[in-house]
């Protein structure tokens, strides 16, 4: 298993802007959500105790699915949501 840097366009629910976030191909969606939310939560969006999930093309992805497993392409838009 080789991890490789992988740029995605990240949006955190409630935030105002799309940000560039480098994730790794083998990151599970739980880690991807953390990496994206890091740039918004407590900076412009209040902290929320609910579990986060990642939505891709309108579909919420399983937390243990990796970037590669989920079929995410470079610069795809990933939304961090509180389902």
């Amino acid at each position: 298993m080789i991890m490789a840097p992988f740029p995605v366009q990240g949006i955190t629910e409630g935030d105002f802007v799309v940000v560039l976030v480098p994730v790794d191909t083998e990151d599970p969606m739980t880690a991807v959500a953390e990496k994206i939310a890091y740039h918004a939560v407590n900076r412009r969006v209040p902290e929320d105790d609910r579990p986060m999930a990642v939505r891709h093309n309108g579909r919420v992805l399983a937390g243990d699915a990796t970037v590669i497993d989920a079929g995410v392409a470079p610069l795809d838009v990933l939304e961090v949501v509180y389902p």
């Binding site: 740029p7 366009q9 949006i11 409630g14 935030d15 105002f16 802007v17 799309v18 940000v19 560039l20 976030v21 890091y38 740039h39 407590n42 900076r43 412009r44 969006v45 209040p46 392409a73 470079p74 610069l75 795809d76 838009v77 939304e79």
Partner: protein, 503 residues
């Protein structure tokens, strides 16, 4: 002055039109430089401008204007006026000089292209005056900030900005190259003079001149008023050009040129003027909100013009009207949060009194935008400046080159989705902030497809080291030049809490 009245000789003297015989018309006026749409040359000779001036009158007028403006500047240079200006207003004029001064000079290229490749002598004559105007505007807006250098070193961005890869400079170059530096004469008349100048800058300069006088910046006010008088004249090259296109059945083509450039102008206008009017101008001196200005001057005027020419409001008009409610608020938030990436000090401008004003002018502002500033203000007050600064980049639109603020439009209830528009073309992925930006690309992909946004450059490894400091260096920003909050975040402590430094 001449013994004959101008009207007795003007038409004869300016109509130096003749049918070329030693070369083909297509060689003298190639389509690439002057898209004639097959309209016979003689039909262009009816081109008639509404504001007439002779060369002698032009020189006489310009000398008077320069003498007046430079006199004001010379007197005020010895005063403390600039030092006593509001910090937010200083930011507004620093942003203005950087974004506009060299752009004006570049506009002289577009004007001189019309001066050579305009399809009527009257038009070429007017464009030569326009060329001289734009050279003047480039020079005067470089000279005035030059005089500020001992008080504000970043005034050198009036000259420097366009020579850097700062993201706003990339956005401005992309727009201005499309509009006039790399445009044909016919399109330039419609896109630069009619759409951008008549539609936006002419009115913006009037508004800014009034605001400048209101805040006591007589220097900038007199400068901008003087420039506006030139703009009012040379911006009229668009109307006769549109008339000829429409008379010859090219209404759809004219409409497309306007739609294309109106949208592009709007986005840069919102970035520059929206922030200045609603956040940087001191509250007590604001005579109107940006939206009120847009509604009264830009929207109304364009609708009148569309009606006058038998054109239709652009297909994206409803989307544009919605954006006037939220887009510049999102840009302000982004510029402030990514403040190290700009050459001026963004003024947060969200003290309780200012928020009250914003709520009054934009009902719902506190719920849609105030909530972000609540979190930021809390971090400032808690002494956590690191949480008010970026650790990554915003994605930018591959057309307007401005950060993608779609989530703000969605959160405020104006967009159906927070996601930007993805467009795969020629094996490359493009991202657009809006349907109109994507539409402009789709109209002529070969014109735009090779351009790399600052994010594309970052991902392609052109920015090294690939870090925030590396990117700031790539943008030409030294630590001393990077923007900070204009008032050291005093807005966050406006309820009397002791000010903490560091944000």
């Amino acid at each position: 002055m001449p013994r004959l009245a101008r009207s007795e000789w003007y038409d004869l003297a300016r109509d130096m039109n003749w049918k070329v015989s030693y070369v083909d018309e297509s060689e003298a006026w190639p389509d690439e430089l002057s898209t004639g749409k097959g309209i016979p040359m003689e039909d262009w000779w009816g081109w008639d401008e509404s504001y007439k001036v002779s060369y002698r009158e032009y020189v006489h007028n310009q000398v008077g204007k320069d003498a007046a403006v430079y006199s004001v500047n010379s007197v005020l240079a010895r005063s403390k006026m600039f030092s006593q200006l509001d910090p937010g207003w200083k930011s507004a004029i620093l942003a203005h000089y950087g974004a506009i001064a060299v752009g004006e000079y570049l506009a002289s290229i577009g004007e001189s292209r019309m001066g050579r490749f305009g399809r009527a002598a009257a038009w070429r004559n007017m464009a030569m005056f326009g060329t001289l105007d734009e050279i003047r505007h480039g020079q005067i807006q470089t000279y005035f900030p030059y005089g500020l250098l001992d008080r504000e070193p970043r005034a050198d961005w009036a000259h420097k900005t366009f020579h850097t890869n700062e993201w706003g400079a990339i956005a401005a170059r992309h727009l201005f190259d499309d509009m006039f530096t790399a445009n044909d004469a016919v399109s330039t008349a419609i896109q630069l003079t009619f759409t951008f100048e008549t539609g936006f800058t002419n009115l913006q300069f009037l508004g800014m001149a009034a605001d400048a006088m209101e805040v006591g910046d007589i220097d900038f006010g007199s400068l901008i008023s003087s420039i506006q008088t030139d703009e009012a004249r040379h911006s009229q090259q668009g109307e006769p050009t549109i008339k000829i296109l429409i008379e010859h059945g090219h209404k759809e083509y004219a409409q497309k040129l306007i739609d294309h450039m109106f949208w592009r102008s709007w986005h840069v206008f919102a970035l520059l003027t929206g922030l200045s009017m609603d956040y940087y101008t001191p509250l007590e001196h604001r005579s109107h909100s940006f939206k009120e200005f847009m509604d009264e001057w830009i929207v109304k005027q364009f609708l009148d013009q569309f009606r006058d020419f038998g054109l239709e409001p652009s297909w994206y008009w409803p989307e544009f009207l919605k954006e006037t409610n939220w887009y510049h608020h999102a840009l302000h938030l982004g510029v402030w949060f990514w403040r190290p990436t700009v050459w001026w000090n963004p003024d947060g401008g969200v003290s309780p009194a200012e928020r009250e004003w914003l709520e009054e002018k934009y009902p719902g502002w506190n719920d849609s935008f105030g909530k972000y500033w609540d979190v930021i203000g809390q971090n400032v007050r808690n002494g956590k400046p690191e949480l008010t600064l970026p650790e990554t980049f915003p994605m930018v639109c591959n057309m307007c080159q401005i950060p993608l603020c779609n989530p703000a439009g969605f959160a405020a209830g104006y967009l159906d989705s927070p996601a930007p528009l993805i467009h795969d073309h020629g094996g490359r992925r493009y991202t657009f902030c809006s349907k109109p930006c994507r539409w402009v690309f789709e109209q002529n992909p070969s014109r735009f497809q090779g351009h790399m946004s600052i994010i594309d450059r970052f991902l392609a490894g052109q920015i090294q080291p690939a870090t925030i400091p590396g990117a700031l260096a790539y943008m030409g920003l030294s630590p001393e030049e990077m923007g900070q909050d204009a008032t050291d975040c005093s807005w966050a402590f406006a309820n009397g809490t002791i000010l903490k430094k560091g944000a």
